[in-house]
Subunit: 210 residues, 2 copies
C-alpha cells in the first residue's frame, strides 16, 4: 500500500469512529442487590443505623459496606447480597432469573421502583430479619442517559429501544427501557444472566438502535 492510500484509509477509519461514537453505549452489569427503606434498615441493622458508602454510583447512589442474606421459598440462602444506598421509600431486591430459580421465586421482569405484584422474599441482617410479601424483581434492562444524550439520540424517558450486541454470543435485544435524568451518565444496565448469556461484561459497549 502506498503512503497516500494509507492516509486515506486511516482518515476513513478515524471518521467512521467519530461518526459512530454517539451510538455506542457502555455496559454496566448489575449483580443481585438490595435497596432498603428506613424502617427495614432499623429492623435488620438496628434502630437508627446508617449505611456506610464504599463506592459511588451514578445518580447519587452508592454501594454500601453492608450486605444481607436473602432467602426464598426453597429456604436456600444467597449470602453477601450488596446493599445500595441511600435509603429508599420502599425496600426492593433485584435478582437474576438464575438467582430466582435457586431461591424458588418467580419475580416479574420490571423497571426499578415498580413493586406491585412482585415476589415475596426474606432479608436477614445482623440484628433481625424481615419477610416481605412484595419487593423482589428481575430488573428490566435499561439505558441511563442525561437529557443531553436523550436529545442527541432523539429518544425520551421511558421510550423502548433496541440495542445491537456485537460479541460472539450477541445479537439484537428488544425491549430496552430508556431512563433519562440529569444525574445519569450514559450506561446500559443488564443483569448477570444477560451479561453471561450475551458474552459481554462491564465496560464493553453496545450500539443503540432507535
Amino acid at each position: 500500500m502506498d503512503q497516500s492510500a494509507l492516509v486515506d484509509l486511516i482518515s476513513k477509519k478515524v471518521l467512521e469512529q467519530i461518526n459512530s461514537k454517539k451510538s455506542v453505549i457502555p455496559i454496566g452489569v448489575s449483580a443481585r442487590h438490595v435497596h432498603l427503606c428506613r424502617e427495614d434498615v432499623d429492623k435488620i441493622f438496628g434502630k437508627g443505623y446508617e449505611l456506610t458508602p464504599i463506592k459511588e454510583l451514578m445518580g447519587g447512589q452508592y454501594a454500601a459496606k453492608e450486605t444481607v442474606t436473602i432467602v426464598g421459598t426453597k429456604l436456600r440462602p444467597i449470602e453477601n447480597v450488596r446493599v445500595l444506598g441511600p435509603i429508599r421509600e420502599r425496600t426492593q431486591v433485584e435478582v437474576s432469573k438464575t438467582d430466582a430459580v435457586r431461591l424458588g421465586l418467580n419475580p416479574p421482569v420490571k423497571p426499578s421502583g415498580d413493586l406491585d405484584n412482585t415476589a415475596p422474599i426474606t432479608l436477614v441482617g445482623p440484628k433481625g430479619a424481615i419477610s416481605l410479601d412484595n419487593g423482589c424483581i428481575i430488573a428490566m434492562r435499561h439505558i441511563h442517559m442525561s437529557s443531553e444524550d436523550a436529545r442527541e439520540y432523539g429518544v425520551k424517558d421511558k421510550q423502548i429501544v433496541k440495542v445491537r450486541v456485537s460479541s460472539d454470543r450477541g445479537g439484537i435485544l428488544t425491549n430496552v427501557l430508556v431512563r433519562v435524568h440529569e444525574s445519569y451518565r450514559l450506561e446500559m444496565h443488564i443483569d448477570t444472566d444477560e451479561a453471561n448469556a450475551l458474552g459481554i461484561k462491564c465496560n464493553d459497549s453496545v450500539e443503540i438502535l432507535v
Copy 2:
C-alpha cells in the same frame, strides 16, 4: 363482524399459521452436564461400571442416573451434575458462564466435541476423582435438525443462522450453529444463562432466520 368477514379472518389466521409453521423451532434448555469416556467412568465410578439410563434424549443419548461433583480453581463445588450417556471418546463438561464464574474458570464458547484449548476441571465421583487439563466448555447455542428439515430450511450442517426470540426479554440471536443428522429431531439447544436472560424455557419456540 358479519359471517363472511369472520370466515375471511379465520382463513387468514389459519394460512398464516400453516405458512409460518416450518420456521418455528422448539427450545430445549441444557443445564450443566458431563459426558464421560470409558477410562474416566472406571476411575470415578469403578472399573467396568455401566451408566444407568433414566431418560432418553435425541440421537441415541440419554440422561443417566449418575451424577458427579465438579470443582474448579476456586475449589467451590457444584454438586449433582448430571452424567449423559452413552460413553464418549473424550470426557466433556458443559457449564454455563454463571457456573464458570462460580467455579473460577474461563471456558471458551465452543461446539460440543471441540475440546482443544478448553478449561481444566475436576470431577468427583463415588470411587475417585479426575483432574482434566482440558474438557470444560460453554456449549455454543445450536439447532439440531434432520436432513429433511435442513432441506426444507435450505441450510447445511455447520451453517451459522440467526433466530428471533419473541419473549419480553427477546430479540435476535446471531451465531447459532446448525447441526444436521438423521437421528436428530428439530430443537434449538441453549444453556440456562441464555434461557434465563432471554425469558424462555423448554418447549417455548423461536423462529429461524436464514
